[in-house]
Symmetry: C2
Subunit: 260 residues, 2 copies
C-alpha cells in the first residue's frame, strides 16, 4: 500500500520501519520540523515535506503519528488544504476519539499499536497488538490488511474499549516503569546497585506472561504483615512522595487481602 506518515517521533519511526519491512511503500513523511521529516524519510526511502499543502493526495492511507495534544490541530489544518486526500485518514492514539476527525473526511479510522516505543530499542512488531476502529465498516478491510501486514494480533475495538486498553497500559507500563524508577533511586541513595533488583523485575513480568497477576501477588501487604508495612512506611519518612505511594498501594492490597 502507498502510505503517507504525518509525524516523525517514536511511533512514526517504528511504525514506518515495520510498514516498509512488510513491503508497503511510504510515499512521504510530513513533520512540522523539516529536518526530522527529512531524516525519517531518508530511512524509509520516502520523500519529505514540512508543508501540509504539499502532502501527497494519492496515498491509500494517511497515518497521523503525532503527540495526542497535536492531533486535533493537525486535522483542522488538513481540512484547509486545497484538494482532497483520496485515501483513508487514521490516527494512532489510544485515547483520542473518532470525533476528532470532524465532518470533512469520508474515510477515517484508528490504527493503535499497543506498545511503548523508545528511540534506542528495536521492537518486534509482529507481537504488538494493533487495535482498529472505523466509522464505516466498508473501510475495515483496508485497515485490517495494512495492520495484518505488520502484526499477528489485529483486533477491532470500540472507542471505550480502546480507552480502557490505554488506561490499562498506563497502569501496567507507564506507572510500572515509574515504580522501577523509584526503586532505582531508593537503592542508589543507599549505595546499592539497581542491578540487584533487575532479576526481580524480570521475574515479575515473566510471571505475568503465564499467570493472572492477582493469583501470584506476593509481598508484606497482601499477607497483612503489618509490622513490616509500618516499618517500611516509617523508613520512607524522609521522602514523603514515595511514602504516600507506598501507603496508598499497601492500603489497597490490604483491602483486597481482607476481601478474600
Amino acid at each position: 500500500m502507498d502510505i503517507v506518515i504525518l509525524g516523525s517521533g517514536n511511533v512514526a519511526t517504528h511504525l514506518g520501519k515495520a510498514l516498509v519491512h512488510a513491503g508497503n511503500n511510504i510515499l512521504q513523511v510530513w513533520s512540522r520540523q523539516g529536518v526530522n521529516a527529512e531524516e525519517l524519510a531518508h530511512r524509509l526511502n520516502a520523500r519529505s515535506t514540512d508543508r501540509l499543502d504539499q502532502v501527497d493526495l494519492n496515498a491509500d492511507v494517511y497515518i497521523i503519528a503525532v503527540v495526542d495534544d497535536a492531533i486535533s490541530d493537525l486535522i483542522t489544518q488538513l481540512k484547509h488544504i486545497k484538494g482532497n486526500l483520496n485515501g483513508m485518514l487514521v490516527h494512532t492514539s489510544g485515547s483520542t476519539s473518532m470525533d476528532v476527525f470532524g465532518g470533512r473526511f469520508d474515510k477515517v479510522g484508528v490504527f493503535y499499536p499497543l506498545q511503548t516505543f523508545s528511540k534506542s530499542k528495536e521492537v518486534d512488531f509482529q507481537a504488538i497488538p494493533i487495535l482498529l476502529e472505523v466509522s464505516n465498516s466498508s473501510q475495515l478491510d483496508l485497515l485490517k490488511n495494512l495492520a495484518s501486514s505488520i502484526s499477528n494480533r489485529v483486533e477491532v475495538v470500540t472507542s471505550a474499549q480502546r480507552k480502557s486498553l490505554h488506561i490499562a497500559a498506563v497502569f501496567a507500563c507507564n506507572y510500572t516503569n515509574f515504580l522501577y524508577a523509584i526503586a532505582q533511586q531508593l537503592l542508589e541513595e543507599h549505595d546499592l546497585d539497581f542491578g540487584l533488583i533487575r532479576p526481580l523485575i524480570k521475574e515479575t513480568a515473566d510471571k505475568a506472561q503465564l499467570h493472572a497477576p492477582k493469583d501470584v501477588q506476593t509481598g508484606p501487604a497482601i499477607r497483612k504483615d503489618m509490622s513490616i508495612v509500618r516499618d517500611h512506611i516509617k523508613f520512607l519518612e524522609y521522602k514523603k512522595d514515595w511514602q504516600e505511594i507506598y501507603k496508598l498501594l499497601s492500603e489497597e492490597l490490604i483491602k483486597i487481602s481482607t476481601q478474600k
Copy 2:
C-alpha cells in the same frame, strides 16, 4: 555443608532445592505443620520433624524461612530447647533486624535471597542476588561459601541497606504486580483479553534491564498531556480505588516532568 531448614513455604522450598542441587546436605526440615515438613523433606532427601526440641543440633547452618511475623516467636522457642545449636542461625527476611536473635545464640546472620518465589514457577537461583549480614565478621566466610554455592551474586550489606532493598523490591515487584492486576481487571470489565497488554509488560521490564527507568519513562503524565490524564481520571470515576492510584501516580510524574 549440613543444613537444617526451618520452614516449608516457597522460600524454604526453592532455597532447599538450590542448596541440594549445589551439593549441600539438608539434614532436616522442620515445620509447625508436620505434613508440610514431611513433604519438603522428601523432596530434599532429608528427615523431617514438627517438634523444635527434636531439631538436629549438629548442622553447620540453620536457615529460618518462615513468614516475617513468625520469626521472632520461632527464635524465642529455639532459645528454650535443651542443648545448643552448634551451627550458625540465619534468617532469610528482607526487613527483619539482626536484633531478632537476642543474646542466646553466638553465631547469627542474615541470608536474604532477593527474589519473589511462587509454588508454580521454577527460578534460576544463580541469577538471584543473596544479601548477607553477620554480627561477627569471623562468621562471614561460612555464609559466603554457602551463598556462593547457589548464586553468582553475593553481597554483604548493612541492615539499613537490606531494608532499602526490600522496600525497592516491594515497589518494583509487589506493587508492579498489583498494577498488572488492575490492568487485567480493567480489561476484563471491558471484554478485552489481558493477553493484549502482555507484550507491553514484557517490553517495559526488558527496557529496565538495559536502561535507567527514569530515562525511558513514557506515557501521558510525563509528557504533561493533561487532556488525556484528565480524560482517564474521568473514565475511572466508576472505580474510586483505581482512580485514586491513577491520580497520585500521574501527579508525581507531572511533578517530575516539571522539575526537569
